[in-house]
Symmetry: C2
DNA sequence: AAAACGAGTGTTACCGGTAACATTGTTCGC
DNA sequence: GCGAACAATGTTACCGGTAACACTCGTTTT
């Protein structure tokens, strides 16, 4: 394990070294690095050459110290075992990198205000320029805002993205209605998650738009386990006269659990009841039966979200959500 | 959105302010912050009070600039849609935070050397003190080592953790053997992933230990889709005389896809063939049938990994892997 | 009792960029 | 043809910690 460091002795070059080699001042080097206007093209290229020759790399700590901005975005994420948030984080990282920002991620139990607060403190300590909350809890958002004065806050799948969440949920319901379903139940996410609210609101709206009653729904914590736990109750409802003939579930994982639970009680999907998911988890095509679900333009949502915390003008809107029809939905029995 | 910043005007306090309020030098404040010995308890508490009173927070950029260390670990992650890596990242973040480090994550397509290199450069630019590669590609590891002289490198689920990966895979095979299976096939991960190698090696070893032939296996890219794609071939093999009666799959998601594909070709699991997974994905209990799989002590592995890059003495070893028996395995037909 | 030591603290300079301001030509309007 | 505006570059100081070293006392050591 001999750390034979090639740079030993020859400390990494800084702006001053580059400046000397290029025959300019260090400030000019800085200008080139930061793409300032008013640099003679020839000077610029001389500097660039020098940077390449010395394998120059900016020192972010120094830059951050001088500018009081770290070019880093903090992400507060919930449970890494849920598909939605995980995929969201990946998309955010890509979007941040696209605009030259770094990300620092802190995981927290979204349902526990203390944990979220700890994550926020952790990120603030890091000096992030903004914080993005993935799948935020309704209650924690105000707390966060209070905790982080001066640091812009945005939410993926919450704030501005909420309409599209609702639209996507509506898409699922419309699909069920088109198949002939008239009594459509909902299995929503935890009531106090903005994301859950948006999805459920979208489903309700679609029902109302079609003149259908929004029957009472169930609530789960996004996990497959929760879906399974609710299955017995769903089975009872389905077997009831005038019971639902379809369930719009707020994410794919709960749908998976629900279907598993229904199978255990001999309720056939989609024979006895149709089920839709939400997310288009890559696994959903291989559930049994393959799950009909809706998909958001995650990359687009992430870009919008990054632009928002950065205070950039809204770029192109994310693509509209898509319905992915598979085999968990059919005409009502 | 009136950003009524309470700290406007009253710029955030630094060590010097704290020092003045506590009646000591800034260096003493620094010593308190860093838990240096040789501080009179009374002095320490005076400083701590002053820090609290001023709501002092260290400026990491300044610290990094002075010490040439950022207390940040870089994580190079592959696909956010796979359960294993996602969960691994979450565990690493927690482990890093436990020892007062930050993490910076960069996602890369592990199969694309260029992409991994880009991620590494990104992290190096950030000035990370070490890099942890989640689920590394065998070939990219040397490249990375070359690219990052002086920056310690470790792998989650690769290097030192490999034995436990192998042990876990062996556990699955042993379970199948105990059920009476003698012809056990394998569906491995991509050949050049260290993790895939370790798991497959463990399975092979277990077979050899039992005096069983390691029949040829299949390979997939960890995704459910890959499992489904291979299903037809597996079905043919299973129906062959002397064909396998069980398949040990290298992760749960591929197992899911495989089972879905087998169902399509009327091969029953576990009736005609038993299937085991790897990871204990929280969804696996709700697959159809619920998946028998093995689980690693992810938090422990992450801690070990963080200690390794940090050059800390190895702490407690991760707990041994566990077998989780569910319904995808049964005695051979 | 002088010398050596260690605990506890202060001084100074430095890390590597960049903001702010100063300084040169150049070009342009009238 | 002269001052104004501007383009291109240099100077200087500063961001906020900490390393390195210096210094002052009590305690030991010999």
């Amino acid at each position: 394990m001999t750390t034979d460091e090639p740079s030993r002795g020859a400390a990494r070059a800084g702006v001053r070294e580059v400046a000397r080699l290029a025959g300019v001042s260090s400030q000019t080097v800085s200008r080139v690095i930061n793409d300032h206007p008013n640099i003679r093209p020839e000077t610029r290229s001389r500097v660039l050459e020098a940077m390449a020759a010395l394998d120059y790399r900016v020192n972010n700590a120094a830059r951050a110290l001088g500018t009081r901005t770290t070019r880093t975005l903090g992400i507060i994420a919930s449970d890494a075992t849920l598909y939605g948030p995980s995929a969201g984080i990946g998309a955010l990282e890509a979007a941040a990198r696209e605009v030259g920002r770094w990300v620092a991620t802190a995981y927290a139990d979204a349902a526990d205000a203390g944990s979220v607060e700890g994550a926020a403190r952790h990120l603030l300590g890091q000096g992030v320029d903004g914080i993005i909350v993935v799948a935020p809890h309704a209650r924690t958002l105000p707390t966060l805002a209070e905790l982080t004065p001066g640091v812009p806050l945005a939410t993926l799948h919450g704030g501005l993205g909420a309409e599209r969440q609702a639209d996507a949920a509506a898409l699922a319901v419309e699909h069920l209605v088109a198949l002939g379903h008239r009594r459509i139940a909902r299995l929503a996410g935890p009531e106090d998650w903005l994301e859950a609210l948006a999805r459920d609101a979208g489903a309700s709206r679609a029902l109302a738009d079609r003149g259908l009653a929004a029957s009472a729904g169930w609530v789960g914590d996004w996990s497959a386990r929760a879906g399974a736990a609710i299955a017995a109750a769903v089975a009872v409802a389905v077997r009831t006269v005038d019971g639902p003939t379809a369930v719009a579930v707020a994410n794919d994982q709960m749908a998976l659990g629900l279907i598993a639970g229904l199978r255990a009680t001999d309720v056939a999907v989609p024979g006895d009841v149709s089920v839709t998911g939400f997310d288009d988890n890559p696994d959903a095509a291989f559930y049994s039966p393959p799950l009909t679900t809706v998909r958001l333009d995650l990359a687009g949502e992430a870009r919008r979200c990054v632009a928002e915390v950065l205070g950039h003008p809204a770029s192109a809107l994310p693509a509209p959500p898509e319905l992915v029809v598979r085999e968990s939905t059919a005409a009502p029995p």
